[in-house]
């Protein structure tokens, strides 16, 4: 398959849209830089997987959704949560383990949820969210709706059974789900070529009678276009799609992992950092006369202020009360209590 190129220079550019995408990616980047800082200070604990370098995929893909569509992510979920519109305060408070967090402090970095925003989690087991997304799409079809479910996972997940089981049923039953592989080249420290029998992993869609696409994940506009086509297909024809977004993570697998070292060289990393999705969009916008250096500085200052506000809010949010330990293990209602999403 040919890689899709972005339509940024074809004369149909939308300055406001580009500015919004730039803002989303800048927010994701600055927010996670603060996460790294908070982790070093011990304000964030446990595992913490940063998305820095991959923003083009999450920002571009989520930008095409309607509010009533669904998003489901992995443990590398901060940036998707922000792109989906969960308030930065609620995300940071969750990372700090506080009661105002989007999961009331009981999920943490890997388990961000928002019922309001149709954000169905952060999931911590590789491949675990893929059947869930397929089930959400089944429910959409069951109800006769025209929503879609967007499911993110890394390239390493294409080797686990749940990926194959899910894509088979989505292809068999024609479910409105878009599987987005965020191919950042490494499953922890294991390179794609050392883990998969084929390197063009989007080809796996062939086995499940499903359309596929490969996109440059560093080009947010290209991601937007490719995901937009898949969403349209899912919405109107209930056809699932497998998309491989080729990207790169600029940080380690998690905060406990060196940025480069045993499995990749510093030179390789530096080569990829040159294709920063934020820098690429900014250059495109500058070339098109949509933004100047002062605009960028202003936008950056604005998102930094949002992140500082989120930090302060999280820092002041109370820890969950002791009784929260035993809350929400089970719910005390039966089916007469309406729990369905509309």
């Amino acid at each position: 398959m040919a890689r899709k190129k972005s339509d940024a220079r074809d004369g149909t550019v939308d300055a406001a849209l580009h500015r919004e995408l730039l803002r989303t990616m800048l927010l994701q980047r600055r927010f996670e830089e603060r996460c790294a800082e908070a982790y070093a200070l011990g304000k964030i604990g446990g595992f913490c997987h940063l998305y820095i370098g991959q923003e083009g995929t999450g920002a571009g893909a989520i930008s095409v959704l309607r509010d009533d569509d669904y998003v489901i992510a992995t443990y590398r979920d901060h940036a998707q949560a922000l792109a989906r519109g969960i308030p930065p305060r609620a995300v940071m408070a969750e990372l700090f383990g506080r009661s105002d967090g989007c999961s009331r402090g009981k999920g943490g970095s890997m388990h961000l949820f928002s019922r309001d925003r149709h954000f169905l989690g952060g999931h911590g087991i590789v491949g675990g969210n893929i059947p869930l997304a397929t089930g959400v799409a089944f429910a959409i079809k069951y109800r006769g709706g025209d929503q879609v479910c967007l499911c993110f996972f890394g390239e390493a997940a294409v080797n686990i059974g749940s990926f194959h089981e899910s894509l088979n049923m989505a292809g068999l039953w024609k479910l409105p789900v878009i599987y987005v592989i965020e191919n950042n080249r490494y499953g922890m420290g294991t390179a794609l070529e050392r883990a998969s029998a084929i390197n063009d992993i989007a080809e796996r869609a062939r086995a499940y009678a499903m359309p596929r696409a490969v996109v440059d994940g560093q080009d947010v506009l290209a991601v937007r276009q490719v995901v937009g086509e898949a969403v349209q297909r899912a919405r109107t024809e209930q056809i699932p799609t497998l998309i491989e977004s080729r990207t790169y993570r600029f940080m380690g697998h998690s905060m406990s992992d060196a940025v480069s070292g045993t499995y990749r060289t510093k030179a390789e990393l530096e080569e990829h950092v040159k294709r920063d999705p934020i820098g690429l969009l900014r250059a495109q916008m500058q070339a098109a006369g949509q933004i100047n250096n002062e605009d960028v500085a202003r936008l950056d200052a604005e998102v930094k202020a949002v992140c500082e506000d989120a930090w302060q809010f999280a820092d002041q949010s109370p820890e969950p009360p002791a009784e929260a330990l035993y809350e929400d293990v089970v719910v005390d209602t039966m089916s007469d209590a309406e729990v369905a999403l509309t």
């Binding site: 169905l120 999931h123 069951y142 049923m169 809350e327 929400d328 039966m334 089916s335």
Partner: protein, 326 residues
């Protein structure tokens, strides 16, 4: 009141709940066109159509997760495992998704669904098809686990399980499907978490569940002829446990035997005995004994399989020991 088989009772519960709530659907291997591997879903495809009676490929992890995903957005799936032995492949979704979603989302995503199917040994199915998983599943916060032993409880507990807003595990038994009993018609709902005193007696408490209820009743009948009166406590639900039912019985009889189908280590009996020693320490006149499967994989040969399974003779021996008879 009608006399139904356990299989018919389950089938009736499914049909009634599907008629009551169009969010309820059945999914699993062979549930539709084949009419159910054990015919529990017989006739449902014809009545409700293929969107609500969904035949899946052989893909336990996948369809268990599809059920959880559908439940996240408000449907009420009933996922059938052809046997719980095959559900081992789906345990990531049962444990990591279904049981924990409500908690790790801070209460935002209840998972109103059922995982059901036969558990435990039938006859000569050998090691991989003869396993009772109650103790594995009752270990997990976030799940409810029911083990109906009679047709009436099968109907009432399955209806409750479908209406419950939590993930509920229903463990049935191949050897139970053809057993018969009185089953109330229409609205018959057995509350989850409530044991039932199936037989009253003052001499010894026999605490059991699921398929073993049949063995317990048979033994209670037999011992009654010798004047030994057994209190048979059918737990019915093993998570949450009905602590009061256990302690009330033991305080009355001062002796107890715990009978279960599965293995000894960390079994249901281990938990029940812990409850008894904490709550009824001063009431006991004898150590509590347990009857369970031998600590081996299930053998194929008839004689060895018989030796491995808990049965009436082993149960009677245990009761006689706690009563210091013989």
């Amino acid at each position: 009141m009608a006399v139904l088989t356990y299989r018919e009772a389950l089938s009736q519960a499914l049909r009634e709940e599907m008629q009551r709530d169009d969010r309820v659907f059945v999914m699993g291997e062979e549930v539709g066109v084949y009419q159910g591997a054990y015919k529990v879903s017989k006739g449902l495809l014809q009545e409700f159509g293929e969107m609500r009676v969904v035949d899946t490929p052989i893909t336990e992890l996948g369809f268990a997760g599809i059920g959880v995903g559908a439940a996240m957005v408000g449907l009420r799936p009933v996922i059938e495992f052809m046997t719980w032995n095959f559900a081992l492949l789906a345990m990531d979704q049962v444990v990591n998704s279904a049981a924990k979603m409500l908690y790790m989302s801070g209460g935002q995503f209840p998972i109103p669904m059922v995982f059901r199917g036969p558990s435990g040994a039938a006859l000569q199915l050998a090691a991989q098809h003869s396993q009772a998983w109650e103790s594995w599943l009752m270990h997990i916060p976030g799940l409810k686990v029911v083990t109906p032993g009679t047709p009436a409880d099968a109907k009432g507990l399955l209806k409750s399980a479908i209406r419950d807003d939590n993930p509920v595990v229903v463990l049935e038994g191949e050897m139970l499907y053809n057993t018969k009993g009185d089953v109330p018609e229409g609205e018959h709902v057995v509350p989850i978490g409530a044991a039932e005193l199936k037989r009253e007696g003052d001499h010894c408490s026999l605490i059991t569940n699921g398929k073993m209820v049949l063995v317990a009743m048979q033994v209670a009948d037999q011992l009654a002829k010798d004047g030994v009166l057994i209190d048979v406590v059918d737990l019915r639900t093993v998570r949450p446990l009905d602590i009061a039912a256990i302690t009330t019985s033991v305080r009355k009889t001062n002796r107890a035997v715990v009978l279960e189908e599965g293995w000894e280590q960390c079994g249901i009996g281990a938990q029940v005995v812990d409850v008894i020693q904490r709550e009824c320490f001063d009431d006991l006149d004898a150590p509590v004994l347990r009857v369970h499967q031998a600590d081996t994989p299930m053998p194929y040969a008839k004689n060895l399989e018989r030796a491995a399974k808990p049965d009436a003779a082993k149960l009677i021996a245990a009761i006689q020991r706690v009563m210091y008879i013989n």
